[in-house]
């Protein structure tokens, strides 16, 4: 039982991680796993799922193990192991197969994660309009934070990527002023060159860099071809 419980909890933890990644990626529409999972919000969401799944897995193991007739079926309350087990059901063939193949842990994890996802996550107990056991709300809040964190990370990563490209465009070996103006005019619109020069002048900024940033922001894929070897 103890070995199966360890396997079950490890599996529940792995499934929690998998579910958090899939959920946050899907909800945030951020493709990169690395970007979508590096916020504190993601960590908290994962921890909420982990605690819930581990608890329900442990509960599933405690409830189901007597039905599998394991020798240490009462492993979680071994102090009672000397008591007769007249109430334990007889071993079925399926239970024997599961046990002999060492698959009990998988069954507990599956049942535990299923119980958490299908039942416990939807629990919202209120008393006089006040939330008492609002697991659903807690998980939604944790997920919102994780999803928003992934989106903010994606925006941040995008800005850094565009700035890096802009710097490459204006650095030595990059494109000339005339070429830069031409690309800005063609890809971003005919009035953009003047607009950017005026904006840069008004804020004493570098007009060449401002145009390169605009190019990287507005037409990243095409601008990236200008610096490729």
């Amino acid at each position: 039982m103890a070995r199966d419980l360890v396997i079950a909890i490890a599996l529940a933890a792995a499934l929690s991680l998998l579910i958090s990644v899939i959920e946050v990626r899907h909800q945030s529409k951020v493709r990169s796993v690395a970007v979508s999972c590096r916020s504190i919000g993601f960590l908290l969401y994962f921890l909420v799922l982990l605690v819930g799944n581990v608890f329900t897995t442990w509960a599933a193991a405690t409830i189901v193990s007597p039905y599998l007739g394991e020798s240490q079926a009462r492993g979680v309350n071994d102090d009672n192991s000397h008591k007769p087990r007249a109430e334990a059901p007889k071993n079925s063939e399926g239970a024997t197969v599961l046990r002999s193949a060492g698959l009990s842990g998988f069954l507990y994890a599956f049942l535990g994660v299923f119980a958490f996802e299908a039942v416990l996550k939807r629990v919202n107990v209120t008393f006089v309009d006040q939330g008492v056991l609002t697991i659903s709300d807690w998980i939604n809040k944790a997920r919102d934070d994780a999803v928003a964190g992934a989106i903010a990370s994606q925006v941040d990563a995008q800005v850094k990527r565009e700035q890096a490209l802009a710097l490459k465009l204006v650095q030595a070996g990059g494109i000339s002023d005339a070429d830069l103006n031409t690309y800005v005019q063609n890809w971003l619109g005919p009035a953009r060159v003047q607009e950017l020069e005026q904006a840069a002048e008004a804020s004493h900024a570098n007009p060449r860099l401002a145009k390169a940033i605009a190019l990287a922001t507005g037409a990243y894929d095409r601008a990236a071809t200008l610096v490729r070897p």
Partner: protein, 103 residues
């Protein structure tokens, strides 16, 4: 009436509904940003139906940012500013959908 005083009395969801009733553009912008999760300002103007007037959209964005429902990453050209949904925005959208479906 400021946000905090009203919020304290009627709650976030109702406050948002009142804002959206007062200025439907707020609902349109919030819906588009929430649907896309992140969107360029220029794309937002074109995706709304009918196409949104720039100034009206800017006003709605200012109000949504004040309510912390969306955030904005500014760029040299306004059309390339990135608008993105926040955790409060996601929660607000879910509450609005829930309260809407319950009616």
């Amino acid at each position: 009436m400021g946000r905090n005083s009203l919020e304290g009395k009627v709650g976030d969801t109702l406050y948002m509904k009142l804002q959206i009733i007062a200025d439907p553009m707020i609902g349109t912008v919030l819906e588009q940003v929430a649907k896309n999760r992140m969107i360029r300002f220029g794309d937002l103007l074109q995706m709304t139906d009918p196409p949104t007037a720039r100034e009206a959209a800017r006003g709605a964005i200012r109000k949504l940012r004040a309510m912390r429902l969306i955030d904005e990453n500014e760029s040299a050209i306004e059309d390339f500013n990135t608008l993105y949904i926040t955790a409060d925005g996601l929660s607000a959208i879910r509450k609005l959908e829930t309260s809407g479906s319950g009616q």
